[in-house]
Symmetry: C2
Subunit: 413 residues, 2 copies
């Protein structure tokens, strides 16, 4: 477990971007640049596709100060992909090509930053390299605003999205109640199968300015119950603010928003959207209220100006840990987080879990954290999220607008 | 012009809320509480409707620290209205009632915070009180994210919305270009008749991460030219980010957003979303690209966490100035801003302009600040907006979430 392995490394980003995935990138790149046994640090353009297409940026050529700005630059600066790699037993074309590139650049370390599907990719590459006897340490760095990765207390990216959602809900709540006429507002929040993000809207309520109702995909959606919930509050207050997960679905499994589109993303998931407008329109029909549907859309996953410093630190730390452990000899693992406390204060510990224990599992919100009416969150959920969103970063600004990293992206020859 | 007039004051908020309208409220309320000749400070619930309905909150009863938090509390804390008051010559019912309330509470000062329509209300009340010989000083405090008020360099609320829009566009721009497949993203921005807000998206471009194309309502929208603009960039880069004002309209004056007939998806379902969804859907039909429509919706006008400190200071200052001038004897005026510079640095001066010169006029973006292609902004526009968005407020937070003012709102008896 502690032999020195000299060679280059490749780092890639995959899946949907987050506000802090570049903080993990910085954690990997900076630590790899500083590691004696890592001879060169490559960043793959658009994740594994950059490896397959031999498009690798030489990170050694970048200005260290610009690299540091990755800590506050949202989205995946090296580019992302949703490329689904085949099973090596069925089709090893991609793997042969990856091996060819690894050999060409003497790559002995591979770090991949993503969610479930990306850990699957990572796991397959790890197994293939082992099967052909090519020594290469493969490590996964977690990332997903959805917070649905198995085996880790939470995922980098989630907390910043949660903070964006909670803050935006607090603001919308102030705005949506300003007139003295009837008003129903529906806020649509990301999260296909797990309600971690939609649930975070309840933080706004816990702090005095949030939605009256919150619906998660963990329970089947019952539209008649939904109408009754809304109409009850509307009759009482004349204003209703509702947060819904994009992934709410009927008992038969069909998404409430499903009829809207047949488009799918690269992994074959149905593309969701338009749910807020749909529900707002249905509620208008029933109540005659003024309605508004608001989709937080991409903003919730790229709102780096509202990032949690805790999330930035942990995202960076996950990348750093992956490199340090790989250098020590670890391979085939994902860095995971374990929640701990010291003197009653939240602390995050790193753990290593096998890549194949993560891939293709989804962690949902515990049902006991959802209220009995299935339309709001219990204190346990608030207690879980709150420590993660703490801390405000000092943002690099230029004329009061964000100053993002400007990388040269010199291609390896 | 400088006689002492003793009596109570009423302050009201009207029209669409902004991130800093409560900073103006604080400017009025704090200054009025401190003014010797103002015997009591009332806040009208839902603007002029609160006066008509005798719903007045006693601001003297509020905790000074909570009042101070109004500086960072978005939306109209006292409630707003869109009540259009009749011409006193045609129907003086409302005016008689207002006079009755003014007499009941010995109101000698009336401060009204809003946009065009609110200045119209203010102007009518001022004239009526004069016509019946009731001494009352009536002052308008400007407010509108739309920045379309006549006679002032800019309006409180605009800059914070512009900063929110520019920052969000920078973030979306990072996210919307992350994959290596074709992608077209349309961002819909508020502003029915004037393009100040949509134009502010160009700040993002000026700072390196913004839309490729920006469309304002100042020029007629030509859909064929629009398709050609988008397709040209799509062919070059494979990614297009477009910012449009909600108010873009065809040469016949009809809003593009109202052309619902063509707005059906592949299944023939009507598009429930707004303009962004409509344009995205049309562009998908033509290019086959992955598309996304994003409506910034209420977020752009209530995003107090991204407020401009300059805007907060000026909003507060406008309220303060209104009270100070009224105490000195001024009436029938709105506080306006004049842009000045000292040692090359932006400075804002207060001016007083007659209420009836403001009411019902709309100030549009000068056509010479829009590029020759009518799809982007010139440097003159950037130079106009940039000084206004400067400065980051120190936000009051509670567990890293906004801490808003909590007013008691004690009703006057």
């Amino acid at each position: 477990m502690s032999e020195q392995l000299r060679g280059a490394c490749i780092f890639g980003q995959s899946g949907g971007p987050t506000s802090v995935i570049n903080a993990s990138a910085y954690g990997v790149i900076r630590t790899a640049l500083d590691a004696d046994c890592i001879t060169k640090v490559y960043g793959a353009a658009h994740g594994i596709k950059g490896v397959l297409e031999d498009k690798l940026y030489v990170m050694d050529e970048e200005d260290p100060e610009e690299l540091r700005l990755l800590l506050h630059t949202p989205s995946s600066e090296l580019g992302s992909c949703r490329y689904k790699i085949a099973d090596p037993e069925k089709d090893d074309t991609d793997y042969k090509r990856i091996l060819e590139i690894f050999k060409k650049y003497d790559v002995r370390y591979f770090f991949y930053n993503g969610g479930n599907d990306s850990m699957d990719t990572c796991s397959k590459i790890s197994r293939y390299m082992e099967s052909v006897g090519y020594e290469c340490r493969v490590m996964g760095v977690p990332k997903t605003i959805d917070n649905d990765l198995f085996g880790t207390d939470h995922c980098p990216g989630f907390a910043s999205a949660a903070k964006y959602i909670a803050t935006s809900c607090m603001e919308i709540n102030k705005d949506a109640r300003v007139y003295d006429n009837g008003m129903i507002t529906v806020i649509e929040i990301m999260g296909r199968h797990a309600g971690w993000l939609a649930g975070s809207a309840a933080l706004a309520t816990a702090f005095g300015s949030g939605p009256d109702l919150v619906y998660l995909p963990e329970y089947d959606f019952d539209i008649e119950k939904f109408y009754a919930d809304v109409e009850k509050i509307y009759a009482e207050k004349g204003k209703v603010l509702i947060a819904v997960s994009e992934g709410i679905h009927y008992a038969d499994g069909s998404f409430v928003s499903e009829a809207k589109t047949s488009a799918t993303d690269g992994f074959g998931h149905a593309q969701l959207g338009g749910l807020a407008a749909l529900l707002a329109s249905l509620l208008q029909g029933r109540t005659g209220a003024k309605v508004r549907g608001i989709e937080l859309s991409l903003l919730q996953r790229c709102g780096a100006h509202l990032a949690s410093q805790t999330d930035i630190d942990e995202a960076f730390g996950a990348g750093k840990e992956a490199v340090e452990q790989a250098v020590k000899g670890v391979t085939g693992k994902m860095v995971a987080f374990r929640r701990d406390s010291v003197d009653g204060k939240y602390v995050c510990r790193y753990e290593l879990i096998p890549l194949d224990s993560v891939a293709n599992f989804e962690k949902k919100v515990p049902l006991e954290w959802i209220n009995d009416e299935h339309n709001g969150m219990k204190q346990e959920f608030i207690d879980y999220v709150l420590p993660l969103i703490q801390g405000e970063p000092v943002l690099p600004l230029d004329h009061s607008l964000p100053r993002y990293a400007k990388l040269k992206k010199v291609l390896a020859k």
